[in-house]
Subunit: 497 residues, 2 copies
Amino acid sequence: MAKHAISPTRSEDYPEWYQQVVRAGELAESSPVRGCMVIKPHGFALWEQMQGILDGMFKATGHRNAYFPLFIPLSYLEQEAKHVEGFAKECAVVTHHRLELNAEGRLIPTGKLEEPLVVRPTSETIIGAMYAKWIQSWRDLPVLINQWANVVRWEMRPRVFLRTAEFLWQEGHTAHATEAEAVEETLRMLDIYATFAERDLAMPVWKGPKPASERFPGAVDTYSIEAMMQDGKALQAGTSHFLGQNFARAQQISFADAEGGESFCWTTSWGVSTRLIGGLIMTHADDDGLVLPPRVAPEQIVLLPIFRSDDDRAAVMACCESLKAKLEDCRWRNEPLRVRIDARDIRGGDKVWQHIKQGVPLRVEIGPRDLAAGAVSLTRRDASPKDRQSLPLETFVAEAANLLEDVQQQLLSRAVAFREAHSACLNSQAEIHEAFADTGTIGFAHVHVADDPAVAAALDPLKVTVRCTPMDWEDEPGTCLFTGQKVARRSVIARSY
Amino acid sequence: MAKHAISPTRSEDYPEWYQQVVRAGELAESSPVRGCMVIKPHGFALWEQMQGILDGMFKATGHRNAYFPLFIPLSYLEQEAKHVEGFAKECAVVTHHRLELNAEGRLIPTGKLEEPLVVRPTSETIIGAMYAKWIQSWRDLPVLINQWANVVRWEMRPRVFLRTAEFLWQEGHTAHATEAEAVEETLRMLDIYATFAERDLAMPVWKGPKPASERFPGAVDTYSIEAMMQDGKALQAGTSHFLGQNFARAQQISFADAEGGESFCWTTSWGVSTRLIGGLIMTHADDDGLVLPPRVAPEQIVLLPIFRSDDDRAAVMACCESLKAKLEDCRWRNEPLRVRIDARDIRGGDKVWQHIKQGVPLRVEIGPRDLAAGAVSLTRRDASPKDRQSLPLETFVAEAANLLEDVQQQLLSRAVAFREAHSACLNSQAEIHEAFADTGTIGFAHVHVADDPAVAAALDPLKVTVRCTPMDWEDEPGTCLFTGQKVARRSVIARSY
């Protein structure tokens, strides 16, 4: 049996495998603060790549970034009735604003606040309060603002990247003059998330509306992108909410229209978070650790010089430096390649395995023999560590961008094939029960279900939920398997994170 | 008397002028949460420019970004004795982790935490706790990590950008094997801040060590950069701390050295914040509003099409689009120019004044007459709004980068000249008393003072402090005007923000 860098393997213990991949990949670890993670440099560099691409897509569609307060007065959360019900659960509450040192050298909270402050779990209410001030007339619309921020939702069962008390995210908040424009915006951002997931994360997703039971508190419609993890479970990887006039009415966000009347705005909000990193891991990582899609890999190519003598060292390092410069002159998807030379003085095997576990797409070894032959030894992270090929150096330079594109496409097709292999159309309650009775026989079931609480109730014992009703699927009229209502197309049901 | 866009003017009421510049420039405003500001899109875009440059400088010197928890357990703050004394004052304290809705629809904090959590005022203690785990051997050193984050220090008298309860900043935290390396790092980062301030913000600064009374709580040495605002006051615009082994000892951050012994690390921390935006404003803004140095201006050039008829509109807009493309192909300081066409349908005068108040470095008006002449009408923000010049379009394209460089240099030399004009060498207590007795006669006094609490005590009635002892100044041995001790060179004393 082959030995693997990650123990346990996926088939031995999937949840523990995930934790070990995160650890071995040096992405993050838990902190002394319950439920809060530390994002380590390699994990943060990955997040920076993702941020950079998304930020560019937001700006290209007319959005601007801004920053709103971390704290929300309790009374603001109370304004929108459904919102408060949905979020009135697990929040960090600031009640004091001062510390005093007592005689024993211990710090004691003092300076009690008149009104407690909640550390934002999401910012609709505080941002809405500002929009109510900023928006006066139709000329002020649309308002298209995004915020990159930390948010806190106290979690009883934290899990790194997937569910942590504090996490990083972006939250877009927009206000529009008409319902049609707000719906268009909601779907535009959903499309951006889906494009980003598939094109950049190589993570195929189904996008569509969620049932009422799964809506964001206070939203009229919630749309999500849903990805399949390697254990068959669904991960909600991003959401876009059409808020109708609910928040605008609660917060008095109104405008004078061109005819002189006063109307409430139509608002949206949409977000993705560091949870995407969890999704990336569980889509691509294998029993040797992380596998990063080149598009978001902080280092796309690592050059590993090999030498014993000082003479060799000089020649090999010179070759690496020159190769790095040549590669950085190449462009892939309009950007220079990201290349690192790892000349650290540690055992070659340890070094190679570190890059495997960190998921670097292409590893290139260069020793005196390669130098003499004018060649490099290339290994792709999406292939076996033993699948090494020798390439003329100039060929490698000429092909590097294509190789990255090929790894990227390979990861996407694998993930699509995996999803295909673990999805099925089911047409009766019995089939659903059978499919989800044992673990692992099915990931996504495509079924006809109505948007009805009875469906959620019927699926609950199976620990299954309706994830979304994919908009890209063909219409296929049918009858809800649980309520008998007519529905226009199938939905995805699955277990989920 | 000339009319100005900002009322009151600087000479009429400087503090209120500052608030009005921030408002008219649409940079930020206060929020419903006491002491917390909202950074509006234009202000945030400015911060993004500053972040981008600094982040590049940090990475070029081997630092990597990471992210640590927002919350710090109370007991962590208690670990370093001087640190806790210095920071045990105004912090936001989280005491509960749940909200419950009572019968009246009000939210009530429940779920009391066993140990209260402090919203980070700075992160030495929580980051140190992680470093103690990560660092085992000399091979793990140095650790060079930076974090971009929000921090909270409850402020009784908040002032937008300068002193707010929540602000954005970066905090670098490094650990080293030797004292010499840590001191070198401390000074390297101080240099980076000084370079950034002068080269990019066109804000001249004095850099040097602060007296013991002004040190960061727990530091061995604190160095700062100090800039002069237009009211003559000093603004501490960045700090770099050599922490010695104080935090390492308190937190057990130790390593096995190459000889097998166990030593405590030598650590540093350094930071700049959104306060820099306040400094930028008070260095360059005038009675018409913001004046942005081109290097950090989100928009360096705004093109203002002028037309009455639809025919004119088509021709003028085509010219603007083509000009924008040409300008974006130019490079200034290795980056493409940032150009916006403002074709909004609002009164031309209002539009021009909005860009003046937002500080855009170059305004270019293009109307049918310019078009016919193949020319553009150029106005520089660092000149009078009436100083308009007509330039052949191609000349403008060829000169655009030079014009930006010229504005940048002009702002720097103006600021240097202002500082020069408001600084003086003083050589007696009497001169100091006279200089600071009235407001406005002097900004910075260069004086011989010892690093002694008696100096702070003597200056306190004048509301003056020792800002720093500039390292770039020539040695000029003298005698402390207050204690008679011998000192090697002069220090800067001033009133300050």
